[in-house]
């Protein structure tokens, strides 16, 4: 024995590592894919393609680094490719550059402290989930990665391939849009007066 592995042995070790490190994130990758596609059948395709690509480029994964982040980055790229194909077929709507400008121009100052009671009034989960789904995609992906998946700004930036400052502005704009949706929801549900909704 000289300590070197046969091709078969190293292949089995790689398989085992992929099974132990990458496959357990399947639910997370599916959830992230679904948040982007908002369509189960598309999410299904994106997840299959993500894991296939991940397996084929497993040798590029740095052991010890965050596998979920690595998989999310691949997943994001697969999704963008799918969307690009869709765009060529139909005009997808939503101008990313325009939305980006909107996000960066957004000032964060504004007082909605008086709406604290709205948040504690009802189970907001269904309304919030719907509102997240309705966010323009550039804001949604930032909100999902940071607020739902709990990533730091720099991790989300790495997944989306944008500077940290871009994550911050997309995130802040996305959160404001969500809050506006919630206030509207509360008003429609009779939980807030019209005057209190004029933020």
């Amino acid at each position: 024995m000289d300590g070197t592995l046969t091709a078969g042995e190293s292949h089995r070790i790689d398989s085992r590592r992929f099974e132990v490190e990458a496959l357990p994130w399947l639910d997370d990758v599916y959830r992230f894919a679904l948040s982007m596609t908002r369509d189960e059948s598309d999410a299904d395709d994106v997840v299959q393609e993500t894991f296939l690509r991940a397996y084929r480029s497993w040798h590029t994964f740095e052991p010890g680094s965050e596998c979920r982040k690595w998989l999310f980055t691949i997943c994001r790229n697969v999704f963008l490719r799918l969307r690009e194909r869709e765009r060529r077929r139909v005009d997808y709507g939503g101008d990313d550059a325009q939305l980006e400008a909107l996000a960066s121009g957004q000032e964060i100052v504004g007082s909605i402290g008086e709406h604290t009671d709205i948040l504690s009034h009802v189970d907001l989960a269904p309304a919030l989930e719907r509102a997240i789904g309705e966010l323009p995609e550039v804001f949604r992906s930032a909100v999902v990665l940071v607020d739902v998946e709990g990533m730091a700004y720099n991790e989300a930036a790495s997944v989306l391939g944008v500077p940290v400052g871009t994550i911050r502005s997309r995130l802040f704009r996305g959160r404001r849009l969500l809050q506006e949706s919630l206030v509207m929801f509360a008003r429609d549900a009779g939980l807030a007066t019209r005057a209190a909704c004029e933020v």
Binding site: H11, R12, S15, R16, F18, E19, L23, L26, D27, V29, Y30, R31, L34, E40, A43, D44, V47, Q48, F51, L52, Y55, R56, I108, V109, S111, I112, G113, E114, H115, T116, L119, S120, L124, A125, L128, E129, I132, V143, V146, D147, V148, E149, G150, A152, Y153, R168, L171, F172, R175, L178, Q179, L182
Partner: protein, 88 residues
């Protein structure tokens, strides 16, 4: 950095409110985190806004229900990987 109580209260409320999300996300320097924490403990104007944003972010985080991938997706992924050579 050490701030006296007067300096903490004297911190501009506008600056505090502008940085609330960075603060809640833990994305500021230790000094800024301390300064804002100190300000919030003593400022009656900023606290309700902080409380609102915190409750809001908790509500968003709570939408992360365990949403397992359907078994069908899992089976398809495994089938694809096996075909590509994975031994599971």
């Amino acid at each position: 950095m050490f701030l006296t109580e007067t300096e903490i209260v004297a911190m501009d409320c506008t600056d505090v409110v502008r940085q609330l999300w960075d603060y809640l996300d833990g994305e500021l320097t230790d000094e800024s985190m301390d300064a804002i924490r100190g300000h919030l403990a003593q400022c009656r104007q900023c606290y309700p806004q902080f409380d609102f944003e915190r409750t809001f972010l908790e509500a968003v985080a709570a939408t992360r229900r365990e949403h397992p991938a359907p078994n069908m997706v899992r089976r398809k992924v495994l089938a694809k990987l096996r075909k590509a050579g994975l031994e599971v």
